[in-house]
C-alpha cells in the first residue's frame, strides 16, 4: 500500500519514461553519440579556457637595488637554536622566457668563458650536484653579485638585478632545479649536452 501510493499519484510517470528509453535504444544511438561528443567538446573547451599563457613582461621596471635582505647564509653552523632555512622565491624560475634569457645572458656575459657549458673548466662545473656556496637562488644570486675568492668576478653594479635573477634561474636549470615546463629544451648554439629540460633533479 505504501509503495502503491506514489505510483497511484503519478500513474503516467513510468510509462513515458520506459517508452523514451526504448525509443533511444532503437533509434536514438547516433543522437546519443552526438550528445556525448558535444559534452566532450564542451569539457575540452572549458579545459582549454583554463590554459593560461605565460605573461611576458615587455617593459622591465627599473632594477631594484635591494639584495636578498641579509638572510643569506653561507655556513650551516649557527650559535644557539638555528634559524629555519629561508629560501627566496625566484619568480624568473617560473617563466620560460626568463630562464631562456638567462641562457642567452650566460653566453653574452661570458659565464661560459670559465664555467663552459656547465661542465666547468677554469671555474667549477655548474651542472653537477656539488655546490660550494649553496644551491638556493639567493646563494647563486649573491655569488654572481659578490664574486668569490679564486677567480669568480663580482658583477655588482654591472648587471640589472632582473638579469641576475634570470641567470640564477638558468644556472639552477642546469641541475634540474627549475620546473620542467620552464627549463630550456635546446640551445641557440651547438648542442654540447643534454638539454636542461631533460636533466634529472639533483638531490
Amino acid at each position: 500500500m505504501k509503495n502503491s501510493h506514489p505510483v497511484a499519484q503519478f500513474p503516467s510517470l513510468p510509462a513515458p519514461a520506459r517508452g523514451s528509453s526504448e525509443s533511444c535504444r532503437a533509434t536514438g544511438q547516433p543522437r546519443n553519440r552526438a550528445t556525448h561528443a558535444l559534452i566532450l567538446t564542451l569539457c575540452l573547451l572549458a579545459a582549454a579556457a583554463a590554459c593560461r599563457r605565460e605573461q611576458r613582461q615587455l617593459r622591465r621596471s627599473a632594477p631594484a637595488s635591494t639584495r636578498t635582505g641579509g638572510i643569506v647564509r653561507n655556513a650551516e653552523l649557527q650559535p644557539g637554536q638555528p634559524w629555519p632555512e629561508v629560501t627566496v622565491r625566484n619568480v624568473s624560475e617560473e617563466k620560460a622566457y626568463d630562464v631562456n634569457e638567462g641562457q642567452r645572458l650566460y653566453r653574452a656575459y661570458n659565464c661560459n668563458g670559465c664555467h663552459a657549458n656547465g661542465g666547468g673548466g677554469i671555474g667549477p662545473p655548474l651542472m653537477d650536484d656539488y655546490w660550494i656556496y649553496g644551491s638556493h637562488p639567493e646563494n647563486i644570486h649573491d655569488v654572481i653579485l659578490e664574486g668569490r675568492p679564486n677567480g669568480m668576478p663580482s658583477f655588482a653594479g654591472k648587471l640589472p638585478d632582473y638579469q641576475v635573477w634570470e641567470i640564477t634561474a638558468y644556472v639552477r636549470s642546469m641541475s634540474g632545479l627549475v620546473p620542467k615546463n620552464t627549463a630550456p629544451a635546446r640551445t641557440d648554439h651547438m648542442q654540447t649536452k643534454i638539454s636542461e629540460q631533460s636533466k634529472k633533479e639533483e638531490q
Partner: protein, 342 residues
Amino acid sequence: MGVGGWWLGVGGAEFQSPTPNSLTLAFASYQDALSPAGPYAGTIAGIWWVYLLICAVVWVLVMIGLALAVRRGRRRVEPDKSTASSAHGVRVMTFAIAATVGILLAMLIASIAAARALSPHGERVTREILVTGHQWWWDIQYLDERPDRIAQTANELHVPVGERVRVILASSDVIHSFWIPNLHGKRDLIPGYKSILTIQADKAGIYRAQCAEFCGLQHAKMAFIVIAEPKEDFERWLTTMRAPAPHPKNADQQRGQQVFLMTSCVMCHAIKGTSAGARTGPDLTHVGSRRTLGAAVIPNSRGNLAGWIADAGSVKPGVLMPPNPFDPDDLHALVAYLESLK
C-alpha cells in the same frame, strides 16, 4: 612612401643641389622599389613593369571577351550545331591556347633573363661588407685583409656610388631578411649560413632599408639607412670608422667615459680604443656620427640618446637593452661622451 624620412635630410638632398624639386623627388624615393637607384633594382623594377603591362593587357582582353560572350549568349535562342561554327570554335581555342603558351613562355624567358642579371656569380666587387642580423638591429663590418683595417658600425650602411659591393649576410639568432628596396630585392639572413648579395648604387642619396622576414616583437622596427655617397666622401668616412674612438676632451666627457666603462654599458657594447670590447650590442666606437638610434627608429639627438639609455623599452617594447636608472649627472656625462664619439 618615404614619409617619416624628413629628419634624415633624405635622399640626395645632401649631395645634390638642394632645390625644392630635387627634395620633393627625394622624398618620393626614400624607400621605394619602383624608384631604383642602381642596376639591380632597375632590373627588378623593369621586370615588374613588364609583368604589369602584360597582365594588364591580358586582363583587359579577357574582360572584353567575357563581355562579348555574355552579350552573344543572351541573343542566341537555339544552340547552333553547324560544322562551320564548331570549326570556328576550334580555331578560336587553338589561338587562345597558343597565345597563352606564348605569353607565359615570354614571361618565363624575361624572368630568367632578369634573374641572370641579378645573379652575383662571377662579378668583380670593390669591397665586401659583412652584415649580421640581430634581434633587432644590424651589425655592419667593412672587411679587410688586415684585421686592424676592419671597420665596424651598426644600422648605417655606407656605399660608394657606382661601385659593386658584395654584402655577406649572416644571422646571430633567428632568420632575418635584408631589403633595400631602392637597390635590390630581399635576401634572407639564415643562422649558421652565409648568403651573398651584390648591390650597386648609381644615385647618391639616403635610402631606408628594412628587415623583411618576421623576426620577433620588434621586427617592424628593425631598419637601417643606406647612404650612397661619392667615392671620396665614402673613403673619408671609412677612414674615420677604422680609427679608434676619440679621447674625451673635457671633464664632462671624461666622467661619461668612466660611467660607460664602470657600469652596465660595458657588458654589451664595444668602444674601440677603450677596455670595452663586448659584442652583444651594437659597436659604439663612432656612435655620435650616426644619424639614427635603435636601428633607424629615432633620430640621433641628445634627448633621444638620453631617453634611449634610460629606458629603451619605451621606444621598442621588448628590446634586449635593459633600462638604466643612472643619476641625472651621470646620464648627462654619459650622453656628452657618446655624442663626442664622431
